[in-house]
């Protein structure tokens, strides 16, 4: 069964206003790592909120593990299965101690006390926050707070974690913390990850990238394919990772570079292949370091 599926979803925040979502059909399989990108107002956060039954479609259907979000009786099971982490780390932690916050979800679900304890301990270990279990959230860094927020979701034993711009307010160290955590959960525990982001390098780390614009899905493909179409992305107010930009500039200059190159090391590798082996003279080889 599919993890998440939306069928022709339309949604408007007001009675007669414009559609924030205008016919969105996507489907996410179990164990996938999907990134959703798009400029502000493209509808990506609105879409994320539909997957957690925080919003319900004006028209169309949203199914989470086959459960219809329009069905009130399924709401809690949907929210358990598809947990959500938000942008502002401060505004989603409820308790004054880290471990109590992680316990909030399972407490709401009515899980027995001993099991909550076990789940909280495991969730905090999974995000590497065990040593801060007794700390107050406001003493933590932004990246640590986001990991606590992820632990709070994990303690509900979700099948999918939806992260809505979780790194937007973090510094590079915090960003990497959150990204590495998400990747580990996806790889080791098979948890489906849906990552909403503004950062093209983060999106490049996903298995699949969905591009949204004006409430529609305009691209849905692996990152290599999406980021090799820089001109099209520019129309949606988006860029490409720097390595891809360089590769595409090389192509424009007449070289056979793969436009889907995503990382720096990969770019260097491709460029030295272009040169072919031994075609630069030996004395140049000695000027190695910049």
């Amino acid at each position: 069964m599919r993890m998440a599926q939306t069928l022709g979803v339309r949604f408007s925040y007001t009675e007669d206003g414009a559609f924030a979502l205008d016919g969105v059909s996507i489907s996410v399989e179990r164990g996938e790592f999907v990134a959703v990108i798009g400029r502000n107002g493209s509808g990506k956060s609105t879409m994320a909120r539909h997957l957690n039954a925080l919003l319900r479609p004006t028209a169309g259907t949203v199914l989470i593990e086959g459960r219809d979000t329009a069905d009130d009786a399924e709401t809690w099971e949907i929210r358990r299965a598809a947990g959500m982490v938000f942008q502002n780390p401060d505004n989603q932690l409820v308790a004054t101690i880290v471990e109590d916050d992680a316990a909030f979800g399972p407490e709401n679900l009515g899980v027995p006390p001993e099991e909550i304890r076990a789940r909280v301990d495991k969730a905090l270990a999974d995000v590497g926050m065990t040593e801060h279990a007794k700390s107050a959230p406001h003493r933590l860094s932004g990246g640590q707070k986001q990991r606590v927020a992820i632990a709070g979701v994990l303690a509900m034993k979700p099948d999918c974690v939806i992260l809505d711009e979780p790194t937007a307010m973090l510094d590079p160290v915090g960003r990497e913390d959150v990204m590495a955590t998400a990747e580990r959960l996806n790889r080791d525990d098979g948890i489906t990850i849906i990552l909403i982001t503004h950062d093209m390098d983060e999106a490049a780390r996903a298995g699949r990238v969905i591009v949204m614009d004006s409430g529609r899905v305009v691209m849905d493909a692996p990152p290599r394919e999406v980021f090799s179409r820089a001109d099209e992305l520019a129309r949606y107010g988006l860029g490409v990772p720097q390595a891809a930009e360089c590769a595409q500039a090389l192509r424009a200059l007449g070289f056979e570079a793969d436009p889907g190159i995503l990382g720096g090391a990969e770019l260097a590798e491709a460029v030295s292949k272009l040169r072919g082996s031994g075609s630069l003279d030996a004395d140049r080889d000695n000027q190695s370091d910049i």
Partner: protein, 286 residues
């Protein structure tokens, strides 16, 4: 209007159990008209340092000179420093409070004692400078988009006509389009007004693209400073300070290890492509 700090040390909660030295013994000069990129990881002391430039924080030890005069010497100088060094905090849109965009941007000039018309005049001028369209001037700042709100907040500081504009992470939390636009506005404003800009940023790419000089802070001290090409070439030093150089610097290093000779200071992907292309063509000729 150069800013100079002399042996500046700042401690939070001095003497208390939670005492923390955020800046220790920093002596530096921000020359007139410079565009400085101030980088360092969270907690390196850069936010604390910049709050001394306009006297919001008083040094625990050391002095801050503006145009050669100690800004802490009397109240008048301090007020003067607030006006002459414009400080834009992180998420500045969180300080908006007035009922209209132009009234909010006029808050600074009115505090300087200007008449209402003059203040509004300056507000409009600054709003246009940062690219806020005229039709938004009468709207509530709370109805604008994130990027527009931030421009209004920056205009609110510019309306005081400071000689130095200090911005703490002005693009944090924005989408790529708004990020580029705001950095473009800042560069344009500097060009038109000839002001000094200090850009505090986590994005080495942004700093490399815009700043003429980079100051790296680590653990409350200045680790190194210099032209972006030189500073970003010292990759090990940067990594030790918890920073990653711009991606193209790593690419250049990797290529040069394989026999290329990409010069220092190539930060933009397009520029890099041109260098690579030139070398590849040279090598095909031989």
């Amino acid at each position: 209007m150069p800013i100079e700090t002399i042996n500046l040390t700042y401690k939070y909660n001095p003497g208390a159990a939670f005492e923390k030295t955020a800046v220790r013994g920093v002596s530096l000069t921000i020359p007139d008209g410079a565009y400085i990129g101030l980088v360092g990881r969270t907690g390196s002391g850069k936010s604390t340092l910049i709050q001394h430039f306009n006297g919001l924080l008083k040094p625990t030890e050391g002095r801050v000179l503006l145009d050669g005069e100690d800004i802490g010497s009397d109240k008048k100088r301090l007020r003067d420093a607030r006006r002459r060094v414009g400080l834009v905090f992180q998420y500045p849109e969180q300080q908006l409070f007035e009922i209209t965009v132009e009234k909010d941007a006029a808050f600074g000039p009115s505090n300087m004692g200007l008449s209402a018309e003059e203040a509004i005049g300056r507000a409009r001028e600054s709003l246009r400078l940062v690219g806020v369209p005229d039709e938004l001037f009468g709207r509530s700042p709370f109805d604008l988009s994130g990027g527009q709100k931030r421009r209004v907040a920056i205009a609110g500081v510019l309306a005081m006509r400071p000689g130095v504009l200090v911005l703490d992470e002005p693009t944090a939390g924005l989408d790529p389009e708004s990020r580029a636009a705001i950095l473009g506005n800042i560069a344009e404003t500097r060009r038109r007004l000839g002001i000094t800009v200090v850009l505090v940023s986590h994005s080495m790419e942004d700093v490399a693209e815009h700043a003429e000089e980079v100051i790296v802070m680590s653990a409350g001290t200045v680790l190194t400073r210099g032209a972006p090409a030189d500073v970003f070439a010292r990759e090990d030093e940067l990594r030790a300070a918890g920073l990653a150089p711009p991606l193209m610097v790593s690419v250049a290093r990797e290529l040069n290890r394989r026999g290329f000779s990409i010069p220092r200071g190539v930060f933009s992907p397009r520029e890099m492509a041109e260098h690579i292309s030139k070398e590849l063509r040279d090598c095909l000729k031989t």
